[in-house]
């Protein structure tokens, strides 16, 4: 049976791609951010996941407003990254786990979720950069992937509680998957930031820290808030924390903290990093 070994949560910002490409890990601006990752690398060497299920949001690479899914699940043999228009290097393709993907999709539909199934799917920086941060080695990513994309672009966005339930259903489907796999769930995006409008530059340190803490001890805490409230508290793009909630929903109620980091700012974003283990 497949086992979930833990959850990894991290912000994503295109500029991280440029910093990696230019080896700026020790640059004073970037060091406090990149210094968060060595403990994560050590943990990954211990838990040795085979597969990662990645909850993320697309930024207009694979999806446009002509067909904007609330939830989309990749079911492709391979996922390609591509030019997003802001000049960061394109990363090599990722191997999929399509049988597992289909099992998730079947169980989601059975539990009255209405996912889009994607047998071809471009993955953007929200997917690729967290993987590169977690597995920085040259070449292809050493785990097989299942992308789960949540709409954070076009309102109405799915409610926080719905994203959490989506994660719960994903977690149950993984646990029922009859193959001896070690699975890590990943949530990317946030934390507080706002790129657009007169409130651009908005950051809410208190909320971010409370949210990160809640994922360890009170995982449904943030589901009390409406989407509008989350935008108010975290910014128009801070709402990407929905991806963290989805991933957290897939984990058991009790987890233990492996590592956390929080740094303001990279670009306009409060960068969070959290890793939790299930003991598997």
């Amino acid at each position: 049976m497949a086992k979930i070994v833990g959850g990894m949560f991290v912000s994503h910002v295109p500029a991280i791609g440029g910093a990696i490409a230019r080896n700026l890990q020790e640059d004073p601006y970037w060091k406090p951010f990149f210094d968060g990752f060595p403990p994560v690398h050590r943990w990954l060497e211990e838990v040795k996941p085979d597969v990662a299920v990645v909850f993320y949001n697309d930024h207009g690479l694979n999806f446009f407003l002509d067909k904007m899914p609330t939830f989309a699940v990749g079911a492709a043999p391979q996922y390609h990254n591509a030019d997003e228009g802001w000049g960061i290097p394109t990363l090599p393709p990722y191997d999929g786990a399509p049988d597992l993907s289909w099992s998730l999709i079947e169980k989601l539909v059975d539990k009255e979720f209405d996912p889009v199934s994607c047998q071809e799917m471009l993955v953007d920086h929200a997917f690729t950069l967290p993987l590169k941060l977690f597995w920085p080695q040259e070449g292809t990513c050493p785990v097989r992937l299942v992308p789960v994309c949540i709409n954070t672009v076009q309102h109405p966005l799915p409610k926080a509680s719905r994203c959490y339930k989506l994660g719960e259903a994903v977690g149950e489907a993984i646990a029922e998957w009859d193959e001896d796999l070690r699975v890590v769930v990943i949530g990317t995006g946030g934390l507080s930031h706002q790129l657009d409008g007169e409130r651009a530059g908005f950051i809410n340190r208190d909320f971010d820290l409370a949210f990160m803490e809640s994922l360890i001890h009170d995982p449904q805490w943030a589901t009390q808030y409406s989407i509008e409230e989350i935008v108010e508290k975290t910014g128009t793009q801070g709402v990407e924390l929905l991806n963290w909630l989805g991933a957290r929903g897939a984990l058991p109620p009790t987890v233990s903290k492996v590592h956390a980091n929080y740094h303001i700012p990279i670009s306009n974003t409060a960068a969070g990093l959290l890793v939790v283990g299930t003991g598997e």
Binding site: A15, H59, G60, L61, F64, L65, A82, D83, E84, G85, W86, G87, V153, Q154, H155, P156, Q194, L195, D196, G197, E198, R199, A200, G201, F202, I203, R205, D206, E228, E229, V231, E232, G235, T236, Q237, H263, I264, P265, S267, N268, A270
Partner: protein, 119 residues
């Protein structure tokens, strides 16, 4: 009639909902095309012609011409797509932030840093 129910007011913030999406479709579709280098080059070659081809309205075309970030948002632009336009123009998100808040870029960056010191 507005497509959406009475909305929560968040200062300096507009949710990209169905009303905004209807308004901005052509503009956002143009920005989505900027995933391709050829399209970016063509936009640079003749901005006005490229805008016309995507059917931008006068408000949108003028906001492009004058690099008016708040104007692009008011005209229905979504920041996830507008960011691709910003890339062409060589603007980073701090340039955008400065433009929208009326700060200098240095002041905007200092404001971001100040959040790290809160409490």
């Amino acid at each position: 009639m507005a497509a959406t129910a009475a909305k929560r007011q968040i200062p300096g913030t507009t949710l990209f909902d169905g009303d905004m999406a209807q308004k901005g479709y052509a503009l956002n579709k143009m920005c989505f095309s900027f995933n391709h280098a050829d399209n970016r080059a063509e936009f640079v070659r003749d901005e006005a012609a490229y805008c016309a081809r995507y059917g931008l309205n006068a408000e949108q075309a003028e906001a492009i011409r004058s690099r008016d970030v708040l104007g692009l948002l008011a005209a229905g632009g979504n920041v996830y797509y507008l960011a691709k336009l910003a890339g062409i123009l060589g603007l980073d998100v701090q340039d955008l932030g400065a433009a929208q808040t009326g700060m200098s870029k240095d002041a905007f960056k200092a404001m971001l840093l100040a959040h790290a010191k809160e409490n």
